[in-house]
Symmetry: C2
Subunit: 405 residues, 2 copies
């Protein structure tokens, strides 16, 4: 991969000198795509098919993970430039939780196709928005090399936890500044705090310039490692956790899809004239399911040259497991975490408990266990065995036909 | 204590020969007193102050322990001769669960005074019933040596479990026959099946004539032993579990109270003219609380001579602990017991689980633990630590002021 060289792109068009004076960092050029199509069966019974993780208020703060995610971007992106991509099943819940958003800001996937098609859809929709601002009738008519069409895009999952929002904002400002001036794909890499096997890792070209909010060239992306490898990664100091939060400008990501996922680019190319019009929905309904099922990491990030990463450290978790909730929760003197409801612990250590609001659990002689009560379901599961949860939920589904799942 | 000698008592009155032909074993001379005043904090959160153990359907059979107890006596005692003694707080619940009983069959204690005053009240009430049948205006007018006043009385707790009801009936028939012809106090002693520390024991004069339904003289009553002593008791073959089920005829128990608890006898003597009349309630309200707090075992049984026991074996438990419920429950191949609701167990052994009807528990990696969910309360407690429950319930009461207790 190439080293980071700060390249300022000037417009190649000769139409006007004004292009050279366009401020590519102005707030109204910022867009945010929040990916919110997931199910989160790992949090059963807290999450269910009809109420996935992003809609839950895990920490009893009065805000769901989704609402917290949207609020986090208020300072960086105008509300009308925030887009949510979700499954059509969750449209009503989305509008209910986010009453400030207009229905057209919720992009509905008619089928599950992983993150590359999800982002391609959002990119195409944003291209339409930008094109209309420029007076173009079709996305095909826009000159994407013209700074007038410049847009900065943040892509983020809807169901992660960020502890230090102030630091998060600072980091994203560095990232937005970088992509406003550079045609590199950028990702956020989190300072690892333990040899976690639940995350993918990003290897730096070099660890020597590592410091908070440094923009550094990426050497390679890795899949989730086993514990032995995770320890090597952690101790080397060259690896960061892959947060799944990406930044790039519109021109760059459009080119990347064209180069590395031409089949997806071709699908959306057919929608150049309908994105943002009343025909968009029918087009997506018909064409989106024809996209290949491929992740953004695998389909774009690992293939692209010049990918950079910001070395970030704002207290992040993908909340992928009960264990991660435990790690983040406030612990009593016996390392117990009561996420919601009231829990009294006797001779018990290292548990994580969540109950319906207003409920009480009295727990005696229990250790390192998840206790989650939700609706008519009670789960008690050793923390170390939570990888069995997926199989257990499948079992329950098979035995009870969806009553409890 | 004296040996069992079968003494037939004939009437000493010279009024009529008919007395000698009275059948003291006829069904309408049988009475049953069911003691139902307890709270059962050991089963919290399943039992609560406002819904004690006897009203609960522990086993999901559709009948509470109280209803099962009453039904068990149908064959032995006319419905109108069944009396329930309970706390005034539970009157409405009683009438709801036992619609066949008339309100006057529910005797309400205005205060908690242990089993001796409870039984004395019932005995006094039965004396009034018998007196009225004989045309007497006051209990004082009845000749209790006259076989015409003969009554057989069974006293039983409302909240025990009996597994073999057929054998229970056979045993009680033996007992009723014995007390119809003998002026001895009789109790049921259960064949012990383990060195249980949760029960009192009854020592036999001699173990040599021991066989099912044998009526045998008692040597002594003992308190709940420690484990070491319980093992000695169990292995000696001379000890039976004290079931708290008693039989005696009215004449004999009246004499016993007069001899061993004269202060209680004196209290009820004052009510000789009002028992069974509309004034009974006011009398009890005023006088019952003046009785000393004393148990039937300590106050009468341990002091009386000639006490006998039936060697019984019909599958009994006082359901005094979650452990006892576990011992009795149907176990799966991993020794787990699901009392109510549905439970799926993974890598779990020796647990006992009860849930609201229609609820599901998924339990992974849990061993020898009580899991009880009721209303807004969830209890998880090691079986071996359940003696801490009383303290825990007190804690909860102190912390939350009765919301959850």
């Amino acid at each position: 991969m190439q080293n980071n060289s700060v390249l300022i792109h000037f417009s190649q068009s000769d139409s006007t000198n004004m292009a050279n004076t366009i401020d590519t960092t102005s707030l109204d050029r910022n867009y945010c795509v929040i990916m919110a199509g997931g199910i989160g069966s790992r949090f059963w019974p807290e999450s269910r098919n009809n109420r996935p993780k992003q809609f839950l208020d895990f920490f009893g703060t009065g805000q769901s993970l989704l609402q917290m995610t949207v609020n986090r971007f208020r300072e960086l992106v105008p509300m009308e430039n925030i887009l949510i991509v979700t499954n059509v099943l969750y449209l009503d819940m989305m509008l209910e939780q986010l009453p400030e958003l207009k229905p057209e800001q919720i992009l509905c996937e008619p089928a599950r196709r992983n993150t590359a098609p999800c982002v391609a859809y959002a990119i195409s929709h944003i291209s339409g928005m930008v094109g209309r601002k420029l007076g173009a009738k079709s996305i095909a008519d826009v000159d994407w090399e013209d700074p007038a069409s410049h847009a900065n895009i943040i892509v983020a999952p809807s169901d992660h936890l960020i502890l230090r929002e102030d630091k998060f904002i600072d980091t994203l400002k560095v990232g937005l500044d970088f992509i406003s001036r550079n045609d590199n794909l950028l990702t956020l890499g989190m300072r690892p705090t333990r040899p976690e096997t639940g995350y993918g890792y990003i290897q730096l070209e070099s660890a020597k310039d590592k410091c908070e909010n440094a923009v550094l060239p990426v050497k390679t992306f890795t899949e989730k490692p086993n514990l032995e490898l995770a320890k090597v990664f952690y101790e080397s100091g060259e690896f960061l956790w892959n947060s799944g939060i990406f930044l790039w400008n519109l021109r760059t990501i459009r080119k990347a899809f064209r180069s590395f996922q031409p089949s997806i680019a071709d699908v959306f190319k057919k929608g150049d004239e309908v994105m943002g019009t009343p025909e968009e929905e029918a087009f997506i309904q018909q064409m989106f399911p024809t996209c290949p099922n491929i992740s953004l990491d695998y389909g774009i990030m690992e293939k692209a040259a010049g990918v950079h990463v910001i070395y970030a450290d704002f207290g992040w978790s993908d909340l992928g497991t009960w264990g991660s909730l435990y790690d983040l929760g406030e612990k009593d003197e016996n390392r117990n975490v009561a996420l919601r409801g009231t829990s009294l612990f006797y001779e018990s250590q290292g548990n994580v408990v969540t109950l319906p609001e207003g409920h009480l659990a009295v727990i005696e002689g229990l250790h390192d266990t998840i206790v989650a009560q939700n609706g008519k379901v009670l789960l008690i599961c050793k923390k170390q065995d939570e990888q069995s949860l997926r199989q257990i939920v499948a079992d329950v589904e098979k035995k009870f036909g969806g009553i409890y799942s």
